[in-house]
């Protein structure tokens, strides 16, 4: 690359490296702290956290009521909190209403319970389509919502982050919370899938 390369032609990898160097030199970031954050969200925080919340709500009616009333506190009680989880609202699927979550403007997502968002959640096609034609977008994602059921789309573009409490599948009466957590998927907690029976 020549020195005359226009700034907008520089690769993001190179610009990222340059930015990190500058910020370290200016003592604005500590690479060790950065590494810790990256490792946390790459390896530790993911949808199993949310699955544990859902499984407890399915097996403990008092916890379920608390979760729907004050999602932030009930989730914190499970040990899950931190950035992007400060104002949690939990919405419950029912036979009448199907809930689905989006961030129309960017990528807001409840990190403490779901980890970082998948690429489809950030994609312009999902962010625009789920608002305009939710039934069609859900069908394209493999979820058929019957015509008789309302679809409620929750836009995370304020400070609120949403978690969907899926319906417990039939035939799971004998499973304990740990086994139930194993059934709950990320997609079901965003509202683009249902939880399947084992």
């Amino acid at each position: 690359m020549s020195e005359a390369a226009p700034a907008d032609r520089l690769s993001p990898a190179l610009r990222t490296e340059a930015l990190e160097e500058l910020l370290v030199e200016r003592e604005l970031i500590d690479p060790a702290v950065m590494d810790k954050f990256i490792k946390t969200y790459e390896q530790d925080v993911g949808p199993l956290n949310g699955a544990k919340v859902v499984a407890r709500a399915w097996t403990d009616p008092e916890y379920r009521a608390w979760l729907l009333r004050d999602g932030t506190a009930a989730i914190k009680d499970m040990g899950f909190g931190g950035p992007q989880g400060e104002h949690m609202v939990v919405v419950e699927q029912s036979d009448e209403v199907h809930h689905v979550v989006v961030c129309t403007l960017c990528s807001c997502y409840p990190w403490p319970v779901l980890g970082l968002p998948p690429s489809w959640y950030k994609d312009p096609a999902y962010r625009a389509g789920i608002v305009r034609t939710p039934r069609r977008v859900l069908r394209e994602m493999g979820l058929e919502v019957s015509e008789g059921k309302d679809i409620q789309v929750w836009d995370s573009s304020s400070e609120v982050r949403y978690l969907v409490l899926p319906q417990r599948p039939a035939g799971t009466e004998d499973l304990d919370a740990e086994a139930l957590a194993g059934l709950v998927t990320r997609d079901a907690m965003v509202g683009v899938a249902e939880v399947a029976a084992p």
Partner: protein
């Protein structure tokens, strides 16, 4: 740092995040850009809302330029918007001037070939 992380059975039957699909970051630079923004917000260099406002603006600009779902539109480059937004919010706060990153990038690009990281974004960098 305020993050509360519960101990997880990473090797258990529902070990996350991988059990639900995909790699969190598509290239090493994406994870560095992510880590910088989270660290800086955690340290108070800017508020998350200020960063988010810039991210929203960069994403909107990308969509205005390329269209949403238009035939032949390029793949959405989320972390490029993220990186642009991070520079924007640092320039807003006076931590960077507008051409600092470009100037340093050009210096780095002029390194001998064996130290060139430009291929990192494709996940098959070499010669490190």
């Amino acid at each position: 740092m305020t993050t509360v992380i519960a101990p997880l059975d990473v090797d258990g039957p529902a070990a996350p995040p991988r059990s639900n699909g995909e790699l969190v970051f598509a290239a090493p630079w994406e994870s560095r850009a992510f880590g910088m923004a989270v660290s800086l917000a955690d340290a108070g260099a800017f508020t998350w809302d200020a960063f988010r406002d810039r991210l929203v603006a960069r994403i909107a600009a990308w969509e205005a330029e390329h269209g949403v779902g238009a035939p032949g539109a390029p793949d959405f480059r989320y972390y490029t918007c993220w990186l642009d937004a991070l520079e924007d919010v640092l320039v807003d706060g006076g931590s960077l001037s507008g051409d600092d990153v470009a100037a340093r990038s050009i210096e780095l690009a002029a390194r001998p070939a064996g130290h060139d990281h430009r291929d990192d974004e494709h996940g098959h960098g070499h010669g490190h």
